[in-house]
Structures are given as C-alpha cells and as structure tokens.
C-alpha cells in the first residue's frame, strides 16, 4: 500500500518535472504544447476507487497549475479525466479477460492491453483533456480555428511523447524480466 503510494508519488514528481521543465517550453509552430501529466492518471488499474483517482488527478493538476501559472485550468481538466478514466479504460481494455485475471489488477500498459487498444485509450483521454484545457483557457468559442489547431497539435505531441515514454518503460520492464 505504502509502496504503491510511493511509486505513484515518484512517477508524479518525475512527470511534473518533465512537464514543467521541458514540455512547457516546447511550442511547435507556436501552437502544439505536449501535456504528459494525463499519462499519470491513465496508469490507475481497473478497480481503483474513484476517490483515489480523483484526489490524485486533482493534486496533479493543481501542482502543474502552480508551476505553469495556469491556475485552475489543469486542475479542472485533469480532474475530469480522473473522473472519466475508469469508463474509458473499461471501454478499451481486452474483453476476453476473466474478471479475476491478474492482468486487470496491473496498471494499464501496452503490454497488458496490446499496443492498438492502448494508443486508442491514450488518444481518447488526451483529446478530452486537451479540449477541456483549451476551452477553459480561451473561455470563448470566438476563435474556433485557433483552438482547433491548439487541440490538434497538443494532442498529437502528447500522444507521441506518452507512447514514447510507454515504450521506454515497456522495454525497461522486458529487460528486468529478461
């Protein structure tokens, strides 16, 4: 229990540091800024209590807001993702598993879910998060085109980076087992 908490805390700190120190300064063509914090929320396994996910998601969002000077925007969007994560995960997880399959209790990953469903899972969550974030940031639908470019670019960058991190972690896990 304490081990899980510590692991999550470390992952959160690492992702936050990456986001704040690196990705916040990435602005491809002035538009696409990757947001990788959502990856942290996607790693909660099926069966985790809603309370826990929501609180972690809110804390993550709040910290990111504090360091990026965007009060409320990330907190709101990540809390939304934390709220929806169990349903999104259920939609994309493998249907052929039994309920007592141990893979279900593990954090979702490309290894347990296969790559295609995992990417769809990540894409759905990232799109939702980006839409929520940019709607709150613009706070009007006056300039829909710019908002669309922001969301599209941000989604693309975020998914690419999350898949890359997932790949790195996957290979690391394989090495550990091998």
């Amino acid at each position: 229990m304490v081990g899980t908490f510590l692991k999550r805390f470390i992952l959160m700190t690492v992702l936050l540091a990456l986001q704040v120190l690196v990705f916040n300064h990435v602005e491809v063509m002035n538009y696409a800024t990757p947001m990788v914090c959502v990856y942290f929320i996607l790693l909660f396994p099926i069966g985790t209590s809603h309370w826990q996910i929501l609180l972690w998601a809110f804390a993550m969002g709040l910290l990111q807001d504090i360091f990026s000077n965007t009060p409320g925007m990330n907190a709101a969007s990540l809390t939304l993702i934390g709220f929806l994560q169990p349903w999104i995960l259920k939609t994309f997880s493998r249907k052929d598993h039994d309920d007592n399959d141990e893979a279900l209790a593990l954090p979702p990953s490309a290894r347990t879910m296969k790559w295609a469903p995992f990417i769809r899972y990540v894409l759905t969550a990232v799109v939702l998060q980006q839409v929520c974030f940019y709607v709150l940031e613009a706070f009007s639908f006056f300039n829909l085109q710019e908002m669309g470019i922001n969301i599209g670019g941000g989604t693309l960058m975020s998914v690419l980076i999350i898949v890359a991190i997932e790949g790195v972690r996957n290979s690391g896990a394989k090495k550990q087992r091998g």
Binding site: L54, L55, D65, G72, A76, T79, F83, F139
Partner: protein, 286 residues
C-alpha cells in the same frame, strides 16, 4: 433509508468530482484576470436577467393591489370633485331677493345649517332627511326653512340626522297669516302638485287679492312670525261654504332642495314645560 445511504456511498465520488471541479473553477476565475472578467460580466448579465424576470413577475403579482389602490384613489378623487363642484355651485349661485328676505325675517334667531340627504316628492306622505341631529342641537318640533321660505317641521331625530315633515305632506299643518292683515288659517297640502298647497279657515269677509304674501303667523312655538310661505294663487270658497280656501303657490321648490336651516326657538322649552304642566294639572284635576 438504507437504500439511500447505499446510493450515496456508491456515488459519493460524484460529489467529490463536483467539489474538486468547483475548486478548480474558483481558482480559474479567481486567479486569471481574463477568465475572471468574462465570468464576472457573464454572471452580471445573468443576474440582471434573473432580476429583470423577478421584477416583472412581482409587478404582475402586485397588479391586484395596484388596481385596488387606483380604485380607491379614483373614488376619493370623484368625491373630492363632487364636493368641489358643490362648493363652486354655491359660490356661483346668485342670492335671490326672496332668499334675502327670508334670511332678513330670521335675523335674531339661532339657525342650524343642514343639508338634505334624502327627499321625496311623489308620495302623499313625503319626508325629508337632513344631516343634522340631536348631537347638533336639533330637536323635534323645530321649524325648518330654506331659501324659498318654510320647508317643514322636524318630526324625528337621531344622533346625526333628522326626519323632517315637509309642507308637502298631507299630515302637515302650519299656522299662517296674510301679510299686513290679521287673518290666519292653517296651511294644508292635499297631494298632487308640489307647487301648491291650500290655506283654509280664512273668513269670508276678509279682503284678499291674488298675489298677496302668505307668511307664518307665529301662533305656534315652531316658527317665528313673518317667515315667507308663498303667494296667493287663487281664491275660492271652502267646501263647507263658511270660509275661504286660498290656493297658495309655495315659495319652496321641493324638487330642488339642498340647503336648509333649522330654527332654534329659544322659548320652546318654556312653552313645552307649560304644556306639560297643563297636562299634569288636568290629570290631577280629574
């Protein structure tokens, strides 16, 4: 109850989600000037809209009260208008010679001015109601006069109103005389036109011409002598053949009577007590 608690427990994360989102939005609006201003103006618009709807609704609900107030005000204004119109009429109406003569003949008597509030002229037993009663000093058997002369005698009194038996009631019986002569008789009304009454019991040898004035004789405690009653219209023999019957054109227009005065006879209590003594004396005598 258990089901409700179970439901709340199962979906408690919904509340947590809502609370966290609200916290996020508070942060968003509080610490971002742009979003804060958009939210502020939108909230202002919303509040103004809601206030507008509320005001309209409440004014619609208050229409009944407003209507009542307006009706009351209308009534009050109409009453004011009518009293002002009366006052105007009174000041605009020129005083006739007849009025002045009647008032001259009443000089030295205490008068209680009164208004006619109810009047009838078409029956045989007509009555007039005036707006002064015992509280104002009006008592039964007091004479009532108007601008045109004698009106009648107070018959019954209440606290603030009095019933007057006018000349044009078949029960009325007023002692009258012919001006500048000593002949007197009793004025009676026999129904029909309110313009004419009859003066009976005038001796046949009296030399009377048409157009002579009839006035009160002063032989009763009710009217002082010399108050104008009417003019002789025509002279005829009484049905009994022993006296004359004069048709009198009454000075008072009963169909158009509004302001009258009650004559307070200072001697009346004295005369009444004398009469009472007489009754007592007769009772003991018997």
């Amino acid at each position: 109850m258990d089901t409700l608690l179970e439901f709340l427990r199962k979906y408690s994360y919904w509340f947590l989600f809502i609370v966290l989102e609200i916290c996020s939005l508070i942060l968003l609006f509080r610490f971002n000037s742009y979003q804060g201003s958009v939210w502020f103006s939108a909230a202002n618009d919303m509040a103004a809209e809601v206030n507008g709807i509320y005001t309209e609704a409440s004014s619609f609900v208050q229409l009944r009260d407003v209507n009542k107030q307006l009706t009351e005000q209308n009534l009050r204004l109409q009453m004011q208008l009518s009293s002002l119109r009366d006052a105007l009429d009174k000041t605009m109406k020129p005083e006739t010679t007849n009025d002045r003569l009647v008032m001259d003949s009443l000089k030295g008597y205490e008068l209680i001015p009164a208004r006619v509030v109810s009047n009838s002229i078409v029956k045989n037993e007509n009555y007039i109601v005036i707006d002064k009663g015992e509280a104002d000093g009006v008592k039964t058997e007091m004479g009532v006069v108007g601008g045109g002369g004698v009106v009648g005698i107070v018959f019954l009194t209440a606290a603030h109103h009095a019933l007057v038996l006018p000349t044009i009631n078949v029960k009325s019986n007023i002692s009258c005389r012919i001006r500048h002569q000593r002949y007197f008789g009793y004025l009676r009304w026999e129904g029909g036109s309110t313009l004419y009454a009859y003066l009976n019991d005038i001796p046949r040898y009296a030399k009377i011409k048409e157009g002579e004035y009839i006035e009160t004789s002063g032989y009763s405690a009710v009217f002082p002598p010399g108050i104008f009653v009417g003019k002789v219209k025509s002279i005829a023999n009484a049905p009994d053949g022993l006296s004359l019957q004069l048709k009198v054109n009454l000075g008072t227009d009963f169909g158009n009577l509004s302001d009258v005065a009650v004559i307070v006879n200072q001697n009346q209590p004295e005369i009444e007590s004398l009469k009472l003594k007489l009754t007592d004396f007769e009772a003991t005598d018997n």
